[in-house]
Symmetry: none
Subunit: 225 residues, 4 copies
DNA sequence: CATGAATGAGCTTTCATTCAT
DNA sequence: CATGAATGAAAGCTCATTCAT
């Protein structure tokens, strides 16, 4: 049995040849990222000290530097993580069977749930991204922005079809995806930050509303019938 | 005659009791605000130092403190200014004759122009507001958020009318205003920050697009006719 | 005639050759000294700002500099004043008819009253004097210390007489004056600063006690009779 | 045997559970206190900068803050030290066999030696204490003053006995201790600060003189015999 | 002369980063 | 590798002094 387990371990290691050491290293890296993320979300990037991160991650301060070359790199690691997660939401949404409306509905509820759980992480990230912080590797920054763009491109895909989007051909579908995203983020910021409603409510209504406004608009259809 | 002159003097002094000194003081205060605003927009609040502000404003560091009790107060001064300006855009938009669509179109182009000129000032402000930076006077903070809300309420007014908004009665018009604002800010962030297109283009197209999406949605009207 | 007038002027100048302007100047100087003294006593020298002094003296800050070249000079002015007052107490005491004990009793009550009225002024002065503050003109400092010494010398005078002081000849009378002064200042510091008894009490008891200890000691006279 | 050794090890660790690290930490803390004390004595508390302290202690500025939360805390640490040392002088004096005179003689020479070695530390401390610097924790301040009082109470103890003190019953013995202390401090201030005689002289003469004045007074005993 | 706005050197304190253990 | 004490550059802020009015 023991051998078998080992072999199983080896099998998986054939795909990802990760030794125990390597696995532990990754695990510790994740723990650090988790701790830092919590604090960045709660207090912002500049406002969070490495002492706090180390204490919260239950590691020595020096250890953090064995995993991330600087506080900035640590932040970039979090952005990487986040970008992956957001991209996953996009891909998940796009995989939903049905028309664009259903895919966007899924995206909307995915994002709202994510913001509810991760707070202003996206806000903090965009804030830091925006100010091309002098120290950040410009290459790295471009790469991150590219990944953000990729999310919108994924969302834009169903909108290229004229049956899904009456504006197809007249305007950039990515643009439209950006607008949808804007509504979502506007909604989240208003609801979670300004109004601060933290009670666990159903937010599928909100997702429905936003999707409905996006696809149908709010105007009375006077010309119908 | 003497009385008359005196009274005339008093009359004008009632309207403009502002001495040259006072005027110069105000002017310098505006210069400082302008310099600080530039830097806050470019680099964020925390990342801007008072030395930089002083240098950029071409004043001594101490002078800044003669006008604003702290860096925080200076920032609050900028927020005040900004809130006034944004509220002015709202009121200007609402005063446009015609239906809600025309008012929102005006608001959209107003905001886009404002962001083009002032950069991500709003973004920076919301970022700081949100984190309720410990030192900020809580009363002051609430007051600022109230003023933000007031802007949305102004915008929401034309949406309370069912002829303007098919959703009137089913959802909060302020919510809708927030969504519209979200699209606008999403658009601006995408265009000015991410893509960084700074060339002076016409952005009435963008305003039209956003307004159109908001009122008519992007869906094909298959059921028409 | 001119000479004469001048001389008369000089003569009277010893009494009052002082023009209105000069008189007003002196008066303003005194006002500034008074205001500064109040604040130095209350808060110490370093802790008192020139803004406070100007406000309390009801003069512009620049005006202070027309009368005193620096904050330090202002402080030296106060020291001058104080030294004069303390020397006056010494001289007043020494002029009392009777033996040394009566003179010292008068000195003691004079000092206690002075400290009661002027608070820790002497303490503040000695504190600043002691640390040969780098900026203080060394000549000025020596001069001040000389004046302090002069006070003790005045007090020491009646102690040079062997009928007044059994130790005359064996120890320096100035030393003894210093010890008496030490008791006085120890008493005042303890009573006014440590215990903080501010109620207007009679302090002739204290003066009597101190004088009595100084002249008679506290030991039981077992060998009397 | 093993247990025994272990236990022995534990026993000694109970008495001295101080690791090398801990010992070194204490040693560095002492070094910082020593450096700060030197400078505070020489220049006063307000006039000493943390840069100077760091330089004189041969530590980085930040290191000081690893040991003391603020300049104020550092000063309080010094006060603690000093109060302990002064109290030790009191207790040592009181433990001397013999009558009050012998105890006070010991106290006098102890204080003179202490002041000679530590300069006007006490003067600086009292100066700061008195002005109840706004930031100082009031509780801490009261505690310090209580400790000062305790020293006087210790000294006052032998004076409660009527055979030692002809004034017992008529005046507070603590008061008398304060007067003795005043003479001592007056003497030290005069000798070490004003006159600045730094040569290593014998000062038992001074202690004798002060004690003699305190117990016997300086008056000629005309009524004797 | 009186004034007080402007000034910048200098203060205390924080914190990302290094490195000896 | 993990650690956290040591570090000093850099931050926000104060205030004695100057000088144009």
């Amino acid at each position: 049995m023991k051998d078998h387990t080992d072999q199983a371990g080896q099998d998986s290691s054939l795909r990802e040849p990760i030794s125990r050491k390597e696995r532990e290293k990754r695990a510790r890296e994740m723990e650090i990222l988790k701790a830092a993320r919590d604090l960045f979300v709660a207090n912002g990037f500049r406002e969070t000290t490495l002492d706090e991160i180390a204490r919260h991650a239950e590691f020595g301060k020096g250890t953090i530097y064995n995993y991330f070359a600087s506080k900035e790199e640590l932040f970039l690691g979090i952005i990487d993580q986040t970008m992956d997660e957001v991209l996953a939401i996009c891909n998940d949404a796009i995989a939903v069977p049905g028309d664009a409306r259903e895919k966007f509905l899924r995206y909307a509820s995915g994002v709202i749930r994510y913001v509810k759980e991760n707070g202003e992480l996206l806000h903090v990230i965009y804030h830091e991204l925006h100010r091309g912080s002098s120290t950040v590797n410009v290459t790295k920054l471009r790469e991150i922005l590219d990944r953000a763009r990729r999310g919108w491109e994924v969302l834009a895909r169903p909108l290229t079809d004229a049956t899904q989007n009456r504006l197809a051909g007249t305007c950039d579908p990515v643009q439209l995806a950006v607008l949808f995203d804007g509504m979502l983020r506007g909604y989240c910021f208003h609801r979670f930050s300004i109004e601060g409603s933290q009670q666990v409510e159903d937010y599928s209504d909100a997702a429905e509303l936003i999707t409905s406004v996006f696809f149908d608009g709010i105007a009375e259809r006077t010309h119908e019938g």
